[in-house]
Amino acid sequence: MLSPIRSLLKMPVLAMLAALTLVSHAADAARLKVGITLHPYYSFVANIVGDRADIIPLIDADANPHGYAPQSADMIRMMSMDVLVVNGIGHDSWAFEILDAAGMRKKLKLIYANDGVSLIPVAGAPNGEKVVNPHTFISTTAAIQQIYTIARKLGELDTANATFYRDNARRYALQIRKLRAEFDAKITGADLSKFRCATMHSGYDYILQELGLQVTAVIEPRHGVEPTARQLAETIDRIKAAKVNVLFAEKYFASKLSDTIRQATGVRMYSISHISSGKYTPEKFVDEMRENLNTFAQAINDSSKGA
């Protein structure tokens, strides 16, 4: 048994420990829990918040966000979020099904990453129809615009860290802009007039526009929808007539269709990452965009040499 004097001496220590525990709990409670729907948004948020907030991916890392079927575990994850960052313009419509199923539609704050993005139509849409392209995250400039929006809105929710988020967003934006400089260095002296490209789907319209490259034809009439035999025949004719020499296809979803087109037209095929699968990491967006830009540079250099 402790003597009364020793007990008294211990009391301030215990009080301090209790106070520290309370402060620690308060800090935990104050830490934002930011949900995200797509892989690029994980990287964006991670680079904005650093170690000052927690990031919760809404769906498992290995789930395919194209045509995703919501799971009960998603609702549980959603319940723990303070705010959810969404694409909101067609690439994560399943997130809204989860919101409804969890009864969180009116309760959970949403950050629409694309709020401030100037959208472009899908290139090569049938009949010249102007359909909004939701692939804003496969880009550099449009990605930066989203990063600024996310940082600003997180700063509104977490005012104590608003400046920290803004500064991180700017640093990250510059890192993304440097990717373009690396790309430029790789195509020094290349003759861009010989470069004519088609894409399997409209996923690369934003980045190609930012690089100053035009898309001549898009194979799939809608993302994930294979063309009819007639549409395919017309597209092949268009590729031949426009002397398209490069076809960009999705890296992790190779299809027999791209092989058919390659055989029918003689185009060279290159694979581009959709940045929508694999482990969630802060580096993923920059790493995969660098890889994509290297692939674009390779395609340009091959066209330039007439390979």
Binding site: V83, L110, Y112, S118, Y148
Partner: protein, 240 residues
């Protein structure tokens, strides 16, 4: 044996029954048509004024690419303004980013890279605000002489407040169908319109969300609030 005779007895309201039925059918069809045409109509874009042009529907190719780059640059310019004036004393004149400042920040469409060449090597000029007259309170970045056929010119206007000048604290982007234009005589909206400039309006993600979800979209902040914040940010920068 009696002979059966057939007698047709018409109901009392027979005369009107067919007519009523046809009228009811016509009313139902007309109601459905009206519903589909009016209530079911889903406008894809915000309506534009005559002096505006849609980046989504009208601009194409290099001009659309330049506009989209400018659209992000307008968020960077106030940040760069902050950076370059951080050591400027309060009583000194603050300056707006030069083209070199923008290029040092790797900012498209001002940076002279391959994308700039592909988009027509547009020549940019900065016009700093003047102390007096119509140009007071407007910093402008003018982009002209693109090499593509039918390429237009661009004007990014940073409007800000100075004493006695009623100018809105916003950054706006204007497009002129002419390939070569000279410095506008006025930085104000009406003056620009009279000189053939049209304000470029994006189809933004916020508008697309509204189109998909209606006004019910539960965003943490609205576009109007964003605009208000941008206004305040520029007010803060230029309120000296």
């Amino acid at each position: 044996m009696t002979t059966a005779s057939l007698q047709l007895v018409r109901p009392a309201g027979a005369r009107y029954e067919g007519l009523l039925l046809a009228t009811a059918a016509a009313v139902i069809v007309a109601t459905l048509v009206l519903y589909v045409r009016e209530l079911g109509r889903h406008e894809s874009h915000e309506p534009l004024y005559d002096w505006q042009v849609s980046a989504f529907d009208t601009l194409t190719g290099p001009d659309q690419a330049i506009y989209n780059a400018l659209f992000t640059a307008k968020d960077d310019i106030p940040y760069i303004y902050d950076d370059i004036n951080i050591d400027t004393p309060d009583n000194a004149v603050f300056r707006w980013p030069s083209l070199k400042d923008l290029q040092d920040s790797e900012l498209a469409p001002f940076l002279h890279d391959r994308s700039w060449e592909q988009n027509g090597s547009v020549k940019w000029t900065l016009y700093e605000p003047l102390a007096k007259g119509e140009m007071q309170g407007s910093t402008m970045y003018l982009g002209t002489d693109g090499t593509h056929p039918q390429q237009g010119s661009f004007l990014l206007v940073v409007g800000h407040t100075h004493a006695g000048v009623q100018n809105k604290n916003v950054i706006s982007i204007w497009w002129n169908a002419k390939n070569h234009v000279v410095m506008p005589q006025s930085g104000f909206r009406d003056g620009l319109i009279l000189q053939g400039w049209r304000e470029v309006v994006p189809h933004s993600g916020a508008q697309e969300v509204k189109r998909i979800f209606g006004d019910d979209s539960a965003s943490s902040t609205s576009t109007e609030e964003d605009q208000k914040q941008a206004d305040q940010a520029i007010q803060g920068l230029t309120g000296n």
